[in-house]
Symmetry: C2
Subunit: 496 residues, 2 copies
């Protein structure tokens, strides 16, 4: 009772490689469903008898019977004893049987995003390199991570917790982990934290999204550093905030400009330990002045302490949060750089009055952070392994930075001037020759070298030409090979 | 050179149990820092000589020296050879040295949230039970989860991937996992998915947040079911959408009301497999009519297929996404209920035109899903363990539902009428006696029994009194004990 073309449609479905994972009866059911949905088999039309269709398709009758049973269960066909199966006449609607017109299909191909969705899409998002190669920035060395120790601790905590570890977790984060984080930031970062003020998240990116939405409404102003970390600016743009760039000099953000600004703002975003991308450390007097400003204006300081673990000249300056007796500072930390990016654990240390609101909001975003990773990390920190890992990596990174600076001076002199930072995972460089930044970045990319141009980090057009060179994730040999390649590429540009 | 009270302040810091985790020199440094920040030690004031302070505090001179060195490094003090240490006079600002006034402290205690932040806070968020007890809904049985198998597979994938597993992951999700998800939803849910159209997230809550923000602007309308899943409504409210409730009957949402609505909406949110909370399955003709509506109005269907794995009467009806030839449907799935809540992996199957925008937006929210969990889950699915686990749990849950329905009929007759669903993890019940819903829920809670009142899920006031009883996570013995307790509590209410 199928026309030849209909039978062919069914046979094509059966044979299509994309459907190979599906059992035969499901493929037959799906093919007939499609004929009905497309209107090729109209309401009331009879279906072939199971025996006949089984013969035509060369399958068992049971297989066709299973397909018809499912079509019946889903309401696509009626089955009448003695007279066979028919395409169902649906009571409420017949409009359902409409094949999309070409016009509708064309129109439907447009994403049709919201205005804010469109803006987020066109921001390009925050893309990270999946297989980092020199000189991708912000990437830690993961080859040295004590993965076997991590696995052993995970087995240990799972043996103790059992299937208890599988439940929903506290949206504020595992208490043991919050304690370990508070102890760490108090001791190493001079913070004023308690476990009650820590909120465990998945990343510093999530922390920025949370702050932007919970603390500011669309159109409200936030001071940002100029140049600024792109992930922060994009999070604030996505939340509809007005970003107001404030220049950075060697002492960090120029706090006086904030204090003198007649319009003010509801918040300021800072990377005080190693300003991104310049590497400047925010001076103490500016820190205190900004705390005073925030307190007087009831504004917020969002402190992103993203890679302060890696400070190579003495101890890093204590964080702003630890200096703030006024409870105006939200401290953002992450394990992405200190442990590994795939972990997805970050955190905020909050003023007491924000703990409940932020925790509630986090349940609306995505619930809570995965339990097993939290348990393992807490054990890793409690056992002193976190501190030990940081110390090891700090030594490795300090050496790599020195090597990279030497290599740049040796092989790129006259072209590039390194601005050796006192901490962090990347070194800013200025282009001193006549090669435009964009050309340098593209020439590098052509030979497989990644560099982030500095201009893209400036809201205004006044950037000095240059780029960031990540060094932490690459061995001395990899750094040397890459610098030589880069030198070749840049010299070729200059000649051309 | 400290006044007696200043010395006491330092001594109190040293002795305070909250600082026990800090080494001595850090405690001394922090105490002096506090004296400076509080203005007790003004700019230019001399500090005691290290030897003298060491004697007064009963510590070694090296310890005090380490504290002074850090204060100096952070810019709090100047050190002059031969004349000792002095509180720094900061160039740019003196305003920093301001102790918060009582008025400022009081004012700063207010959270000072944004309007949207305040609304999110006051929504109460989406709280889950950390230690589920009867009859908390939506909770799977995790005690039966094959945790040892899971751990073995994790060891396997980590042996293969090594530290490669620690890198940033593809923001769209691990390709192997996307393949496994596509195969699963195609076969079991009748979807039209490919790995290219799957976006791995952390939860269905994140999926709803993403859809709400990417597809609709604040003030735009979305049709929701009445009654509706609270997590969805809160996500839409948080995004500033106008939720338009549409009644649900035994055939699911009343699609004709949507089609007839003169104002329309940009999207509709559906739980077609087992409507939350009624358990109704959306009829086929309504599914087709809604697809037609969405195509004609260029609107979106957000299909939350949250617990369709657990269908107890035959196979579940194919999902709306699989019927939609117009690419208007976003299919949301989660492993929270099919595996375990602490995993934090959910996903969406997207129309092709939304894949890039949604992936970009996800990088702005929180980057990507944790790598090790994705690798392990992909292996778990590829090995057929996911299918096997679902089949086992479906059998267990079907039995528990039958037992609970029997217990309610036996012990709560005249008070409560069970509305046995054909799938899902909870059973709706109507209160047939004269006990008001709120009283029943509170009486149950007093004896340690959790129930979700149905009224809270209705936007309008016309709900029948009743509640949801989760059954999946509790053994027959636990269910019986809890029903007996509940019967006692409800009968006591009726008598009083």
């Amino acid at each position: 009772m199928f026309r030849h073309s209909q039978l062919e449609t069914v046979q094509a479905w059966l044979a299509h490689p994309a459907h190979a994972a599906m059992p035969l009866h499901a493929r037959i059911q799906r093919a007939i469903r499609q004929l009905i949905l497309d209107g090729a088999l109209g309401p009331g039309k009879p279906l072939p008898a199971t025996r006949g269709l089984a013969q035509s398709l060369g399958v068992s009758r049971d297989t066709v019977e299973a397909a018809y049973a499912q079509l019946h269960a889903e309401g696509f066909i009626d089955r009448r004893v003695g007279s066979g199966s028919f395409v169902a006449r649906m009571g409420e609607f017949t409009a359902g049987y409409r094949r999309p017109t070409r016009e509708a299909l064309r129109r439907n191909q447009a994403p049709n995003l919201s205005r804010r969705g469109n803006a987020m899409f066109h921001s390009g998002g925050v893309r990270e390199m999946l297989q980092p190669r020199p000189f991708a920035h912000g990437v830690p060395e993961t080859r040295a991570f004590p993965l076997q120790l991590w696995e052993r601790l995970e087995r240990q905590v799972l043996r103790e917790a059992g299937t208890q570890a599988l439940h929903h977790g506290d949206p504020q984060g595992l208490e043991a982990l919050r304690h370990a984080i508070a102890d760490y930031v108090n001791l190493q970062r001079g913070a004023r934290a308690t476990a009650e003020r820590v909120l465990v998240l998945t990343s510093s990116q999530q922390a920025m999204t949370l702050c932007a939405n919970m603390l500011l409404d669309p159109g409200e102003r936030i001071f940002i550093e100029e140049p600024v970390y792109y992930g922060a600016r994009k999070a604030f743009d996505a939340a509809g905030l007005e970003c107001v760039p404030v220049d950075v000099d060697r002492q960090g953000i120029m706090a006086q400009k904030i204090i003198d600004d007649p319009t003010g703002a509801k918040a300021v975003f800072l990377t005080p330990s190693h300003q991104f991308p310049t590497g400047a450390t925010l001076a103490l007097d500016r820190r205190l002045a900004l705390i005073d400003w925030a307190s007087r204006h009831h504004a917020w300081i969002i402190e992103d302490d993203y890679d302060s673990e890696f400070h190579y000249a003495g101890k890093p300056t204590a964080c702003v949060q630890g200096l703030d007796a006024h409870d105006r500072t939200i401290y953002i930390g992450t394990f992405t750089k200190s442990l590994f990016p795939g972990l997805r654990i970050g955190y905020v240390v909050l003023p007491p009055q924000l703990v409940k609101p932020m925790t509630v909001a986090r349940t609306l975003l995505d619930g809570h952070t995965a339990s097993i990773a939290q348990l393992t990390l807490a054990r890793f920190m409690e056992g002193g392994h976190f501190g030990a890992h940081i110390r090891t990596m700090r030594g490795i990174y300090a050496e790599r930075l020195e090597i990279l600076a030497g290599l740049v001076r040796r092989h790129l002199s006259g072209l590039v001037e390194p601005q050796v930072p006192i901490g962090g995972l990347q070194m800013p460089c200025l282009l001193t020759g006549d090669i435009p930044e964009q050309e340098a970045v593209l020439a590098a990319r052509r030979v497989g070298i990644e560099m982030l141009g500095l201009s893209s980090l400036h809201a205004t057009g006044k950037a000095q030409a240059g780029f960031l060179m990540g060094f932490a994730a690459y061995t001395p040999e990899e750094l040397e090979a890459a610098v030589l390649k880069l030198a070749g590429a840049l010299k070729a540009v200059r000649r051309s």
